[in-house]
């Protein structure tokens, strides 16, 4: 009994526990803020979405009274006749049941269903692209830092140039060069238009074929930014006192390179956590340009059609995805950097 209590005490007062508790609280707080913003922002957008639906659903109806009644029917159906506060609580209550409402533009399909069908495309595209870009960028940056003269002179300007290109610019360049001019890759879509989604080698092949350009457009930008950061961090670590001391203790260069790589990577993890939102934003733009059937394209269409519930749902899902990614990175960071633990006692 005593022992378990002291173990409990030890855990609660340990640096890791404090760190994770703090990070979890922050995660929850940002989540609440995100939910509120996601509810409020679409309602501040100009334009009446019901009017848009009406215009599409009932183009031939001239009777104003009939129009008014249809309009009111929808007002009640979507809950827009109630006070905003009440709408919010209904919204939150529905969220807990995984109900994001019904889409206006693709009425009566539920928003959650639309998002679920677009999400695998987005995750399948962005997660590997960001991870691959991060790793390649870090390795290139580290190599550039060691080989100060040769490789560095080529990589540095290239990385600066590539990381300076906005996401849509990169997508358009790739699309024009490899899609339109060279014709190596298709210019739009997630799979061939003549195919129906089903499990077959032909379909998978088509997916991979369509995957190249959007994937590369995200990876290239990630590589550029990460390589620059890793290069300067590695140079900084190379000149650190512990490197010199390790050398004078006769530690092998190979071991020292390992020290440097590991330590220079720590700020890169934080950097990834900070930039993952921007990266995802860029990746959504890439989806739109390549007409990739993910969340980005769906979001663009939802905005065009004033589809409140869908916009709100997609932005919420994206925000949660970013928050989870950042949260996971911070957990990982806590595990790999002992200084985090020590800092909690100060």
């Amino acid at each position: 009994m005593d022992e378990s209590r002291s173990t409990y005490k030890k855990i609660v007062h340990s640096g890791y526990f404090k760190y994770y508790r703090k990070k979890t609280l922050w995660f929850l707080a940002t989540l609440v803020a995100a939910v509120i913003l996601n509810f409020v922002l679409p309602r501040l957008m100009p334009g009446d979405p019901l009017a848009a639906i009406m215009a599409r659903l009932a183009p031939g109806i001239q009777d104003t009274e009939a129009l008014r009644r249809i309009y009111e029917h929808y007002m009640v159906q979507f809950g827009l006749d109630r006070p905003v506060i009440q709408q919010f609580f209904i919204y939150v209550g529905n969220l807990f049941r995984g109900d994001l409402g019904l889409s206006f533009s693709r009425f009566p399909r539920p928003v959650s269903e639309i998002i679920m069908s677009a999400m695998p495309w987005t995750i399948g595209l962005q997660l590997p692209a960001i991870i691959v870009g991060w790793f390649i960028g870090n390795i290139l940056g580290a190599i550039a830092a060691y080989s100060r003269n040769g490789f560095d002179r080529v990589l540095m300007p290239t990385a600066l140039f590539v990381s300076g290109i906005p996401a849509f610019g990169m997508a358009i360049i790739l699309l024009t060069v490899f899609g339109l001019n060279l014709g190596w890759f298709p210019i739009a879509g997630g799979y061939g238009i003549h195919l129906l989604p089903h499990l077959s080698w032909q379909f998978i092949g088509s997916i991979i074929y369509h995957y190249h350009l959007p994937f590369m457009s995200i990876v290239l930008i990630a590589i550029g930014g990460q390589a620059l950061g890793m290069r300067s961090m590695s140079i900084y670590e190379l000149n650190a006192d512990y490197v010199r001391y390790s050398r004078f203790m006769g530690i092998k260069d190979r071991t020292i390179v390992r020290y440097i790589f590991r330590n220079a990577m720590l700020p890169q993890v934080t950097g990834l956590a900070l930039s993952i939102g921007t990266m995802m934003g860029g990746a959504l733009v890439a989806e739109i340009i390549f007409g990739y059937p993910g969340l980005g394209t769906t979001l663009l269409r939802a905005i065009r059609e004033g589809d409140y519930p869908l916009i709100s749902g997609i932005t919420l899902v994206i925000t949660i995805m970013v928050l989870i990614a950042v949260f996971l990175l911070e957990i990982i960071y806590g595990l790999i950097d002992p200084r985090v633990k020590a800092a909690q006692f100060e």
Binding site: R244, F248, I336, D337
Partner: protein, 342 residues
């Protein structure tokens, strides 16, 4: 006569700057340290103390470059060896180094014991991790360091503990010579005392055979080392026993340096401190003649022209000045050299 552990003959090294300029930081330095002895190296900032320490390791990497000279440790000349041989057979085993900034000397993401394992395996040790741990724990305990330090990261240690841990790691392979570059300058007085005691213990227990102690704090040298060597502009200007050097320096520069010591005793506030005017010469183009001539109150036109040799005097001491000893003594009739411009 005792056995000579470290012998340095005509060692010269230089830095090559970004702009391909040579900076001659250590110029033709020769000295010997005998078994069981410790040598203090004193001088102003930038005089080449730390560079000498780095040069003595025999392991050069940019921007430091070897020019000439021999470093003989326990009868073995290490200056001709290939870098990888030096790394494996000299560093840590023959000669070890405690850096100036020991605060940051440990890898922040590696536990102390992991680093000790790296050190052991880098020197071809075949011991198991358990054996290394036992050895490290034993050594740490002898040196009055808690064994649980081994399982800590450097951020979890206080400044004084970090410094002592670094010293324990540096000497884990029982090197013949230990070079301590300002090991206590950044510490509070009680931590400083513990560090000094630890260095004495290492000598007494025979883990190290000789020590070089670099500092700008002269009173500290008097308490730590047997002999003192004063450096100026990359050269040795005077060497002697600690008593000779502190109470009876001969060279005008050492005289001025000793005159700058603050002693906490009654009336210190009223004593006018003497400081040496001017700045050390630019070592990109070392001056011909005596390096100190520009700042020396007693310099004559000859001093600025003739290259001054280091001359051995009686009693194991030596100095680098054109003027003979008796003439210099005549100049310091007031017992204290006064460099103030009046």
């Amino acid at each position: 006569m005792n056995k000579t552990i470290l012998e340095v003959n005509g060692l010269s090294t230089k830095y090559i700057t970004r702009f391909r300029e040579d900076v001659y930081a250590v110029r033709n330095v020769s000295f010997k340290v005998e078994e069981g002895h410790s040598l203090g190296i004193a001088g102003e900032s930038g005089c080449g103390k730390s560079t000498l320490a780095l040069s003595l390791m025999g392991y050069y990497f940019a921007p430091l470059h070897y020019i000439s000279g021999d470093i003989i440790i326990n009868g073995k000349n290490i200056s001709g060896l290939k870098p990888d041989q030096v790394r494996k057979n000299v560093l840590g085993t023959e000669i070890a180094y405690i850096p100036q900034a020991a605060m940051n000397a440990l890898n922040p993401t590696r536990k102390v014991i992991r680093f000790i394992e790296d050190v052991m395996y880098a020197h071809g040790s075949k011991m198991s991790k358990k054996e290394i741990y036992d050895l490290a724990r034993e050594r740490f305990e002898i040196l009055n360091l808690p064994a649980d330090t081994l399982h800590k990261f450097s951020v979890e240690l206080s400044g004084g503990m970090k410094q002592r841990t670094v010293i324990a790691i540096s000497t884990i392979l029982s090197p013949k010579v230990l070079i301590a570059d300002e090991p206590s300058s950044a510490l509070d007085v009680s931590s400083q005392k513990m560090v000094i005691k630890m260095l004495h213990d290492l000598m007494d227990l025979g883990f190290i055979k000789a020590m070089l102690f670099i500092t700008h704090e002269l009173p500290l040298l008097y308490n730590v080392t047997d002999d003192i060597m004063v450096m100026y502009a990359g050269q040795i200007v005077e060497k002697g026993s600690k008593d000779q050097m502190i109470f009876d320096p001969i060279h005008p520069y050492s005289k001025g340096l000793m005159g700058s010591i603050l002693v906490p005793e009654d009336g210190t506030r009223n004593i006018k401190l003497t400081a040496i005017p001017g700045t050390p010469p630019n070592l990109k183009n070392p001056p011909t003649g005596c390096s100190f001539a520009e700042r020396c109150k007693y310099a004559t036109s000859r001093c600025k022209v003739y290259d001054v040799e280091y001359t051995e005097l009686e009693g194991g001491r030596g100095s680098r000045c054109l003027k003979p000893e008796h003439e210099l003594r005549g100049l310091y009739d007031d017992g204290k050299v006064d460099f103030s411009n009046e």
